[in-house]
């Protein structure tokens, strides 16, 4: 005899949190996921720069200035690195046929510090000294462009994220305070924002740069660039958050929080600002490129990151000569890296925006 089947054996479906809903909508946007994957890859490379780059970013090869890219070849199911020899004339190189050495993985090479802490010397790949592997060629000092690109991404990519964190948290607090208290506070803060926004960004950047001493250590310059870019960036964020706060402060849950005896600052931080997160996350993603480009501009103008440190803007600075551009186009590799990064951020940001829009499906 059959037993009666229960009416429903299904597990009660747990309601999804807003973040889970957000993720479900984001998953359907492949191009955004692609952008996100590219970014994760780029940031991982930046974090493990020392391990992935075959050489130290300061290492000079005095025999090979402006060397064109050297790519490993596949021979008998093994990667081998050809040897190049310099021909008479200006930096003309030719591969020596038949003279190759195998490409090695996990080889010992230049010393570096993994994550800036752990001393190490193992690199992902490398070859012996007479058969150097310059994937993107070398620059005017015979430094490996590929290695410098990877080390440079540490500066260029982190400036975007740290700059956004700094300027957005500042902008959110200021905007929240401005919108929450309204009245005279609001008027003063908003006029200051408009003042900052009304000055053309480039002039502001350069005049702000002038307020700092001309010679600084790399770390100081790095901090200075972030401060300058954040100083310019917070105002527009503050204005948008202020507008959202003006409407949120009238919500009953704000009054409810006040009836519980919650302080103004906590109401702003805990009740109002979290309601703006869906906007902020999207805006932050779409704004990171401006900070990356800001560093590029500063370094390109020669007031940003200084030699021998590596950043994408500084490397492009070396390529601004048209003759270099014509004869040694591999020096433009950082431009391609910037292009890919900015595009990836925009793909991801667009997808986040669609996913954060609760009206979309």
């Amino acid at each position: 005899m059959e037993t009666a089947t229960p009416i429903s054996t299904a597990e009660p479906k747990l309601a999804l949190s807003p973040w889970q809903l957000f993720w479900q909508r984001l998953k359907r946007r492949k191009i955004a996921l692609f952008g996100g994957a590219v970014l994760i890859f780029l940031y991982l490379v930046a974090i493990f720069a020392g391990f992935i780059s075959p050489y130290d970013y300061q290492r000079l090869d005095r025999d090979r200035f402006f060397h064109p890219p050297i790519w490993p070849k596949l021979e008998h199911f093994h990667f081998v690195v050809p040897r190049y020899e310099q021909l008479p004339g200006d930096f003309v190189y030719r591969a020596v046929s038949g003279d190759t050495q195998p490409l090695h993985f996990f080889v010992r090479g230049d010393k570096y510090k993994l994550l800036g802490l752990i001393p190490a010397s193992i690199h992902l790949f490398g070859s012996d000294g007479n058969h150097p592997l310059y994937l993107f060629g070398t620059d005017q000092f015979g430094r490996d462009v590929f290695s410098r690109l990877i080390y440079g991404s540490q500066i260029s990519l982190s400036i975007g994220v740290i700059g956004i964190l700094l300027s957005f948290s500042f902008g959110m607090i200021i905007g929240g305070v401005s919108g929450y208290f309204a009245g005279a506070t609001d008027t003063v803060i908003m006029r200051v924002c408009e003042l900052i926004m009304s000055i053309p960004a480039l002039y502001l950047i350069i005049s702000l740069r002038a307020t700092f001493p001309p010679s600084m250590t790399s770390a100081q310059i790095y901090a200075m660039i972030i401060i300058i870019l954040s100083f310019i960036g917070w105002a527009s964020m503050a204005r948008v958050i202020r507008g959202m706060t003006l409407s949120l402060r009238e919500q009953q849950f704000v009054l409810a929080a006040r009836t519980l005896g919650q302080s103004h600052l906590k109401i702003i931080v805990r009740h109002i600002l979290p309601n703006t997160f869906s906007y902020v996350i999207v805006a932050a993603t779409l704004n990171v490129p401006y900070y990356i480009l800001g560093e590029v501009v500063l370094s390109f103008l020669g007031v940003g990151i200084q030699e021998p440190s590596a950043s994408w803007g500084l490397m492009l600075n070396a390529a601004q000569n048209t003759e270099y551009m014509k004869n040694y186009p591999w020096l433009l590799a950082p431009g391609a890296a910037i292009f890919v990064t900015v595009l990836a951020f925009n793909f991801l940001g667009d997808g986040l925006r669609d996913a954060a829009d609760t009206k979309s499906l």
């Binding site: 309601a15 949190s17 009054l255 409810a256 929080a257 006040r258 009836t259 519980l260 005896g261 009740h271």
Partner: protein, 320 residues
Amino acid sequence: MNLLEIKNLKMDFGKGANALRAIDDISFTIGAGETVCLVGESGCGKTVTALSIAHLVATPPANYVGGEILLNGQDTLKMSARELQNIRGGVVSYVFQDPGASLNPVFRIGNQIKESLKLHRPEKADDAEVIRLLKLVGIPAPESRIRNYSFEMSGGMQQRVMIAMALASEPKLLVADEPTTALDVTIQAQILDLLRDLKQRLGMAILLITHNLGIVGDMADRVAVMYAGQIVELAPARELLRRPLHPYTKALMNSVPKLRGDTNRLSAIPGNVPRIGNFPPGCRFAPRCPIAKPECSEKIPELLEVEPGRFVRCPFWKTE
């Protein structure tokens, strides 16, 4: 000593020539464990009066020009911001009309109740206490409900959560501002039952704001009827409902639809509620009053104790 004592409270919106008198000479008391109802039409100042108790109306635009609000003997209008934060929630808690809007949509309800606990009873700010509170207000399966967001609950459940939040701090006075208006009738009855039950169990006083006279009969010990920023009648609930004295109260009770009788049209009070800033001189109800006399429009009548415990703002209350 009464738990709450409002004496001759006067409050304007705006200052100087633009001042609009929103609350005019309001006085009433609430004893410990008592339920007082504040009744009146929309815009007559009920909510503003209730919010004033914990000084929750922003100043400016509000401007308290006279009177005092003694909560446990201390004037809340003179308190510092720090003292007010302790009073809010600690002594007086609020429940509002629209529970969906009163809960923050980006937090789980358990965390919101915990926020109230952290502020007033930090030693008990844990899940166990939140679950106990949710049980207290009759939410089934509270262990799983604490992880819900407000928009995943029905209106009645949301209101129960709001009440749990208000109770978390163990207040002496619960101000419920039309707590059932946004709910349907069966849920209304449940929420009112809950409030009555909690009042008995926890011994708190309730200030219930409503424009539903049925709720008054159900819940109140005493009633204050407000009209255009003034209390026009203050009386024990039973007596007021059985024998209203002020012409406005009478008219209000006449407007309640009756199930029996052969009237086929609702009786309404002629005219409109005067707008704030545009009050008629003298008695504010005079233009709509069936028994108004010419002298009614000359001087604002006093709120007089005409019988023990019964106050009426009308010198002609004996007129039938």
